[in-house]
Subunit: 139 residues, 3 copies
Amino acid sequence: MWYQKSIEIPARKRGFHLITREILEALPELPECRVGMLNVFIQHTSASLSINENADPTVRDDFESYFSRAVPEGENYYKHTLEGPDDLPAHIKASVLGVSLNIPVSDGRLALGVWQGIYLCEHRDSAGGRTLVLTLGGE
Amino acid sequence: MWYQKSIEIPARKRGFHLITREILEALPELPECRVGMLNVFIQHTSASLSINENADPTVRDDFESYFSRAVPEGENYYKHTLEGPDDLPAHIKASVLGVSLNIPVSDGRLALGVWQGIYLCEHRDSAGGRTLVLTLGGE
Amino acid sequence: MWYQKSIEIPARKRGFHLITREILEALPELPECRVGMLNVFIQHTSASLSINENADPTVRDDFESYFSRAVPEGENYYKHTLEGPDDLPAHIKASVLGVSLNIPVSDGRLALGVWQGIYLCEHRDSAGGRTLVLTLGGE
């Protein structure tokens, strides 16, 4: 059993956003999967995906603060600057955090831990919507 | 062929630990898989998984030293501080390193390189055991 | 349908290199896969894989500049120094960027975004060729 679909996540402001519910709502087939693997893939180079704490919104605030310090804008050695000061740091953050998640499926549900949620990590100041490809393999 | 099980890794001290052997011992079905993919997923937000050097323990020491400097405790801009100074940095490290590994399976064995081992990355000072979901798909 | 092969990427200089074409040329079976998942796995601990911008070579230059600053050589607390000053930083970069990619397959093609390419991230000053395991699962 292989199933795939594309979904569009509407534009979000720069930062880290929980999208677990959007993913689940796009997967009415999930309950039919006894065991398998869900891949979530973002088709962009300046936004990324991660799995982390799903309860306290200050965690997501702190992620934005941390990553924007760890990958600063305006370093004088950057060469790729034509698309704005937030662009090259966005590419770097996308590679540090990753653009592809694999989440096990157990008895028709994502086998996330109690405190785990799926993050859309938006690294641009003014991005549009983001396209995700969801692929479910299993039985 | 899809196979899945949960295992518990007993509590480890903060740092980076080789767990390749624990994973293999939990997978007696592996020799029956000619070609496939093993996913190892940790159901936590303050510990992570990685693949790196399996021989010299000072590599794992240096990882702990490096990541604890790269993601310092006690930054004055952190908001999520109620669970202790090691908690928010642990979440960040978990997203930098990742919580989900995919390792190819070839002729009944993990297709790791000669020097590759599986790391449990424990980012909390005093964590309990950690639950991993192992999912094997293949033929 | 599960398919697997190993390929060798000839030695590249330290830095970030597009290898999308090498991957595709090694996969003549791809057009037969309607929906599935390609895993690309590098069997090394001092090189890694990523997905990022495929058009402007200065992005890859800036990646090399950034990561070599973020993970500096010669820190006085490093213990694993016998294999040269570039070795331990190479291991750390490999874990930050990751050694395993999962890319969805749609209608016989990799479902990469328009601007996405596959990077080989070579972190050693003088490495040899690098071995990749390509695993395709799908239908």
